[in-house]
C-alpha cells in the first residue's frame, strides 16, 4: 500500500547523496529554535525588560539626580543607566539558552538529534552559533532602543549621553555583545548540566546570587571577586564611567569570554564522551 512510495535502496546508496554539512546542521538548529513557543516568549521578554526596565530606571534615577551627592554626580553614567534593564533581560536569554539544549535532554529529543548528527560537536556548535546570532540581533536592537528611550527620559532632568560621545557607542553595542557571550555560556551550561532546572539555577547563581553574596564580603575580598567575576567583568563593556576596582571595558569582556570558552570546552568534551 503506502509503502510502495518508498524508493528501493540501491547498492551504491552512499555515493548517491552528498555528505551532511555544518550548514545543514545550522539550518536544522534554526528550525528547532523558531519552532517552539518558548523562543518567542523569551525573546519578547528580553526586549520588553531591556527597554521597559531601562526606561523606568532612567526616569527614576534622572529625577533623583538633582538631590544626589557630588560623588554620585561625578559617577553619573546616563548610558549605563539606560542599559540597566539589559542585566535583568539577560535572565530571559540565559533561560532560553539553557532550555534550547536541556529541553532536548528532558524530552529525549537529544537522541533523535544525535542520531541525525552523530558528530556531536557539530550539534553543539550549530546550536550555539544560531542562538548567539539570534541573541546578537535581538540584543543590539534592544540595547539601542533602550539607550534612545532612556536618554529621551533623562533629558531635562540630568545630563544625558549622545551616541557620538566618547565610549557611548561602544557601551551600547557592548550591551548586546555581552548578552551574546551570555547566550553562548547558557548553551554550554545547559549542555554540561543537562537538567533544565539545574542549569537555570546555575545560571541564576552565576548572574545574580553569587555577585550578591560577594557584596557582603569585606572590601579586601570583595574587590578582587567583583572585579573578575565573569558576568560582572563582562558587564563593564556596557559602562562609560569606569569605577575603581573594576576592569576596563574590553579586558572585562575578555574575562567573560575566557570563562565562557572554558565552560564551553568542558561541555564539548563531556558531550562527546558521555552516553546520550
Amino acid at each position: 500500500m503506502t509503502a510502495a512510495t518508498i524508493a528501493p535502496a540501491g547498492p551504491d546508496h552512499r555515493a548517491a547523496f552528498p555528505a551532511a554539512t555544518f550548514g545543514d546542521a545550522l539550518r536544522s538548529e534554526w528550525t528547532k529554535l523558531r519552532s517552539v513557543r518558548s523562543t518567542f516568549w523569551a525573546l519578547a521578554m528580553t526586549v520588553v525588560l531591556g527597554i521597559g526596565l531601562g526606561a523606568a530606571i532612567s526616569a527614576a534615577t534622572a529625577h533623583g539626580y538633582a538631590n544626589s551627592s557630588a560623588s554620585g554626580k561625578l559617577s553619573w553614567d546616563p548610558t549605563a543607566v539606560s542599559l540597566d534593564g539589559m542585566a535583568i533581560a539577560s535572565l530571559a536569554i540565559a533561560v532560553l539558552g539553557v532550555l534550547c539544549i536541556s529541553s532536548e535532554y528532558s524530552s529525549g529529543m537529544i537522541r533523535a538529534s544525535l542520531i541525525a548528527v552523530p558528530k556531536r560537536g557539530r550539534v553543539l556548535a550549530a546550536k550555539s552559533l544560531v542562538f548567539a546570532a539570534v541573541t546578537f540581533v535581538v540584543g543590539e536592537v534592544t540595547s539601542f532602543a533602550a539607550f534612545f528611550v532612556g536618554q529621551a527620559l533623562i533629558d531635562g532632568h540630568a545630563p544625558h549621553a549622545a551616541l557620538g560621545d566618547p565610549g557611548v557607542a561602544r557601551a551600547v553595542a557592548g550591551a548586546g555583545l555581552t548578552l551574546t557571550a551570555l547566550a553562548v555560556l547558557s548553551v554550554a551550561a545547559g549542555t554540561l548540566l543537562r537538567h533544565p532546572a539545574a542549569a537555570i539555577a546555575a545560571m541564576i547563581a552565576v548572574l545574580f546570587v553569587l555577585p550578591g553574596i560577594a557584596q557582603a564580603l569585606p572590601d579586601s575580598w570583595r574587590n578582587p571577586v567583583t572585579e573578575f567575576w565573569p558576568t560582572l567583568a563582562g558587564g563593564q563593556l556596557a559602562n562609560v564611567y569606569i569605577s575603581p576596582h573594576t576592569l576596563q571595558p574590553w579586558p572585562g569582556f575578555g574575562v567573560m569570554c575566557l570563562f565562557t570558552a572554558i565552560v564551553y570546552a568542558i561541555a564539548w568534551t563531556l558531550l562527546n564522551r558521555r552516553d546520550a
Binding site: 509503502a3 552512499r14 533523535a112 542520531i115
Partner: protein, 320 residues
Amino acid sequence: MIEARGLVKRYGSTMAVNDLSFCIRPGLVTGFLGPNGAGKTTTMRMILGLDAPTQGSVTVGGRSYRDLPAPMREVGALLDAKAVHGGRRARDHLLCLAQSNGIPRRRVEEVLRIVGLENVARRRTKGFSMGMSQRLGIASALLGDPAVLMFDEPVNGLDPDGIHWVRTLMRSLAAEGRTVLVSSHLMSEMALTADHLLVIGKGRLIADTSVEEFTRSSSQRSVHVRSPQAAELAARVRDAGATVRAGSTSPAATAPAPGGAGTAPDVIEITGMDSAEVGELAAAHGIVLFELVPAKASLEEAFMELTRDSVEYQAAGATR
C-alpha cells in the same frame, strides 16, 4: 547490513550487553527478541553511536555510525516515540531532522503521507496519542529513505489496525531489500513479522536463527512422558544424549494414578529426542509408558523456555 563483534556494555557492575556478535542481513526482517532488561535497547543505542561500547565494535554498512557522512540516508531509527519536544509541530520536528542531513523539504510531506499524519502535521506533538507518536517516529526513520532501519518496540501503544500497518510496512521495507531490525519482548508479535530472530537474555546472545528453524527445533525436541519408571527412563535418555527435566503438568487430563498410592508415576520432559525415539528406547528396555506426547510448544513457549533463566525481573511466584 549491521555487524557487531564482541560488543560489551558495562554500567558500573552491571553487564547490560555481554560479548554480543551478530550480523543482520538485508532483505529480511530480523526480530530482536528478549525479555525486558535483556539489553536490546542498549545494543541499538550502541549501533547508533549513542552509547560507546565498553568493548568490541559495531558497524553499519561497513562503517562505525559516527563516521557515516549522512547518517539518516543510511540508517533510519525509532528508539522512543515519545522522545520529541512536545511544543514542536509534527512537521517542524521532521523538518529539523531532515535539514540536518540535507534531505529536501518535500520528503517531509512524503513521509507524513506514508504514515498517515498529513492531517495533524500542524499539531504540536504533546497532544499526540501513543499511536500517533509511533507513526511520527516511523516517519522520522523513513526520512532519509535509508537502506537500514531499526525500530525499538514499534507496535507499543498501537491499535490492531496500527499493528497490522507496522507489520506490513516492515515486511515491505525488507522486501525492497532493506535491512530491518525490529525489537520486541513479544514472541507472538515477531512470529508474524520476522524472518530471522536474534534472541538475547541478560545481555548474551541466546539464539541467532530463522523463525522457521526456531519453531521447528523447539517443537521437535520436546517430548512429554509419564511413566512409573521415569527415573530409569531418564537415565537411559541421558545416556542417549538427550536432556531431561522433571515435568510438572500433564498435557492430558490428570488421570487417577494407577497402581495405588505411593506409586504415582513421574512426569518428565525430554528434549533432544523425538517421541518415536523415546518410545523405541522405552520398549527396548521394557519401560512402561503411560503418556508419550510430543509437546507442541508455541513460539511464545519456546521463547519463554529459552529465556527463562535470563529474565531480569520476575514476579514473585511466577510459575515460569
